[in-house]
């Protein structure tokens, strides 16, 4: 870990301003991802801007009948919130499937969306990694790639986005609200928020330097059976090998987002349309352009089977 300076931001605008005037700075929320990465010198900001004191930690109903979740709301509080549990069960279930109680007590909504990949080569600064060091190469391609992405990959990077919460947000069509350093407010649909790796896997979202997430807005509840199924090697405290977040209506229609398979929460319009025809049809649409490695090819079959189980459970 390199030495860094630290400030507590006094307002949303001041935070965004401070971050835009120093390109080596980063926001810190719960710190559960950022500090780990700094200890290993995967991230080396010289300045941290603490955004915990900005009052962004409330959950309020919106005029449209949805919910505005402050960027600093802790994962534990969000999962336990009465409205979330009643109307957005998928989100609550995805949150509690992630990390551990202690981590969720600290981890925030914005930090969770922005957590970085768990690719083991990304975590080892001796190894080439385009995401950590653009242009150095991708060690996972041709290497240990069991947990890597199978779809939306590039020749530069096959990493996954590891968040459980983001899968639910994607299925629920959340919108990310931000403030830019110039003071302007923006609303980014979650579908557009995370990027595919392409040639620039180090650029993971559409956020600009200094752009601060203030909230994540959920549209009005969509009802249906809401199921989050996380598949993993051990029963707890492990990132998903794959996960399936689905909302399934009584008539069998619905929506599905998949985790552990891509550089972003993976949702395909065509797959939603096929849902009522069953897991096989939906999975074909999800993975039409899949490019798995020898080690992770099984994920395609696994998602199809898991989705089959989710559909059966929803109908049950």
């Amino acid at each position: 870990m390199r030495a860094f300076t630290y400030e507590r931001a006094s307002s949303v605008e001041a935070a965004a301003n401070a971050a835009s005037s120093n390109r080596q700075s980063k926001f810190i929320a719960g710190g559960t991802n950022l500090l780990d990465l700094m200890k290993l010198e995967i991230e080396t900001p010289t300045h941290l801007i603490d955004v915990n004191g900005l009052g962004l930690d409330t959950i309020e109903p919106t005029a449209e009948g949805g919910l505005r979740i402050g960027a600093l709301v802790r994962n534990t509080d969000l999962a336990a919130h009465e409205t979330v549990r009643r109307d957005y069960g998928l989100l609550s279930r995805a949150l509690v499937a992630g990390a551990s109680g202690q981590l969720r007590n600290v981890a925030t909504t914005a930090g969770n969306l922005l957590q970085r990949t768990r690719c083991p080569y990304f975590y080892d600064t001796n190894q080439p990694c385009n995401k950590r060091q653009p242009g150095s190469g991708c060690s996972a391609i041709g290497g240990f790639s069991r947990q890597h992405a199978v779809v939306g990959v590039s020749d530069a990077c096959i990493a996954t986005h590891p968040s459980d919460m983001a899968i639910a947000m994607r299925a629920l069509d959340a919108v990310v609200e931000t403030v830019k350093p110039d003071g302007s407010h923006h609303a980014i649909p979650i579908a557009d928020f995370h990027r595919l790796p392409g040639e620039t896997p180090h650029i993971e979202t559409v956020l600009e330097q200094g752009e601060l997430i203030t909230a994540v807005v959920l549209p009005p509840p969509v009802g249906g059976r809401q199921i989050y199924r996380k598949v993993r090697d051990r029963a707890s405290y492990a990132f998903a090998i794959v996960s399936v977040g689905a909302v399934i209506q009584l008539d069998g229609t619905g929506r599905v987002a998949v985790g552990g398979v891509a550089h972003k929460p993976w949702r395909v319009e065509g797959a939603d349309a096929e849902l009522s025809r069953g897991a096989r049809s939906a999975a074909s649409a999800l993975f039409a352009d899949a490019r798995p490695t020898e080690q992770n090819r099984f994920k395609i079959d696994l998602v199809e089977r898991t989705l089959g189980a989710v559909i059966a459970e929803a109908r049950g």
Partner: protein, 742 residues
Amino acid sequence: MQFDKPATTNPIDQLKVVGQPIHRIDGELKTTGRAMYAYEWHDANLPYVYGYPVGAAIAKGRITAMDVSAAKRAPGVLAVVTTLDVGRREKGKFNTVNLFGGDEIQHYHQAIAVVVAETFEQARAAAGLVKVEYAEERGAFDLREAMAGAAKPDDSQEPDTAVGNFEAAFKAAAVTLEQSYETPDQSHAMMEPHASLAAWNGEELTVWTSSQMIDWWRSDLATTLGVDKEKIHLMSPFIGGGFGGKLFLRSDAVLAAFGAKAASRPVKVALPRPFIMNNTTHRPATIQRIRIGAGRDGRITAIAHESWSGDQPGGQLETAASQTRLLYAGADRMTAMRLATLHLPEGNAMRAPGEAPGLMALEIAMDEMAEKLGMDPIEFRIVNDTQVDPEKPERPFSHRDLVGCLKLGADRFGWSGRERPGARREGNWMIGMGVAAAFRNNLVLPSGARVRLDSQGVVTVETDMTDIGTGSYTIIAQTAAEMMGIGMNKVAVHLGDSRFPVSAGSGGQFGANSSTSGVYAACVKLREAVAAKLGFNSADVVFENGEVRSGNRSVPLAEAAGADGLVGEDKIEWGDLTKTHQQSTFGAHFVEVGVDIATGESRIRRMLAVCAAGRILNPITARSQVIGAMTMGAGGALSEELAVDTRRGFFVNHDLAGYEVAVHADIPHQDVIFMDETDPMSSPMKAKGVGELGLCGVSAAIANAIYNASGVRVRHYPITLDKLIGGLPQLADMSDAYRSRA
């Protein structure tokens, strides 16, 4: 004391203290944070600073240049010591690769520098500034590729054994099995990282460390540093787990010593977690081939077990075939083990080396063979039990109750409820049961101790024995209390200090039996000293209730000790009983699992181990050993694997996020039953080891349960869902399972 005749009745047999369920005497220190582990050692007179290691970024080659100028200029830095600075060192006797020194890189994350600074953060930051240039060389990293060139190690490792004519008997057998099995590289992954605090006083060196074997470390540290062993004082009173990873000197102690010398300050070094898996040792992967031939009656006529593993040049076998020489009957038999050269980090002992991976394979093979014979796998094992060493029928087992373990376990576990493979369902769960035999030899090592009786009637035991979380403090106190006829509150135990008599140390499940036998021997000496001082005839004295009695004279121990106190010191040494008799420990593992019909996730539902391991010195600490080992076996069966990058030559998942040990949610219910037995051949304590037995066979029992649940046989550990889903029922057939769950 020479133990060369079977034990007869002795004071331990009273079992007033020994054998009782006594909570660990160091438990309160641990739960209140007052037990000081190596890295927490704190002393106002020791103004220590911090060392942070730098590891090699390549697997094989040479360092051509190191630039430490930026690191030396960094804030707070007091010294930087590089592997080039200290030059090539003589290697410790127990180390295969160099821990530090010289330009040669033998494996990834080999220690190449230590940066010493005023604070931990400064040392860590400066370590990131060390620049290294390498001349990289090609290495061998793939066991399967290296297998063909694997060599037969020297005879001391007993690579080949044969009795009768296996090939002919196998060919003639009515029913045969031939299969290959694979076990992966595994990491000890103990809770406490390797850590040392080193302080020089002139030529004298004091080291607080985390070591299973004080004397081995002291010798090898002396060799590596090039100092006189007598000048080193080593202490390791508390150890947060070792599992074999702390048997042999490790780089933290060497780096701390060099760093402390260079900085002229005491230095603390802990190996960072992501560094441990490639810097230290691991259990090597194996590829095994098993062939079994039997008659239709289920009697094994031919059995062969071959195993391939890899290690650095000069390294050792993972002796995965060795238990097959002893576990089951069969007239014609052979084992063979070959060692390939690999340039991965050093392979070495991890809990139950040999037996753990060996039984992972053999006990699946036994399950498969039972199925081929149409026999219950318990019955098949019972039919092939042997009371003598199958290679030397004139050599009996000292005591062997594998059959008792299997029968009792079957009864308690409800084995009769087991169904055919794939038959039992509960909603989305396919349920199955599995069994496996547990087997591990009972090893013994010489072990010394000193016991002092003071004028308060308190007995203080001193031995360099270690307590790696096993309960050594407690069973040693029990032994002394029983021998001297006093309560536990009158015994103090001091361990893990090189100023104390050299003990067996902790490893190979030899620690409990050997070290308590050493304490027994020392107590015999002390009893003699007490009797002699009082003029008692030592043959008829009784030590009871804090008094020593002879005829109608009785004297409180405190009074007998007098102002100067009395001392007894001795060492247990072992005669030929291990040669005339095969001494082993036995058990049976029972496991019930659920396999998710859609995802192939395997989850354990309940586990039972029945162990026959001689006298159980303390049922609480023994049980903890066994359930801990069962938990380790669950990780080994289901998730633990050091993933090898065969291009770059290192373990990729080198932290506890990537290397998945079992967590609480994986272990819902465990039971342990100890057979009520003693083994007079094993020691005056009549005890044997249990610390490793609990791991032996448990992974295979899980594998067999998964097969029974799902009908899919996986022979390549860990049994992760990707290896199962291809064989599970098709999607269309699953819907009902999920509906019935709702």
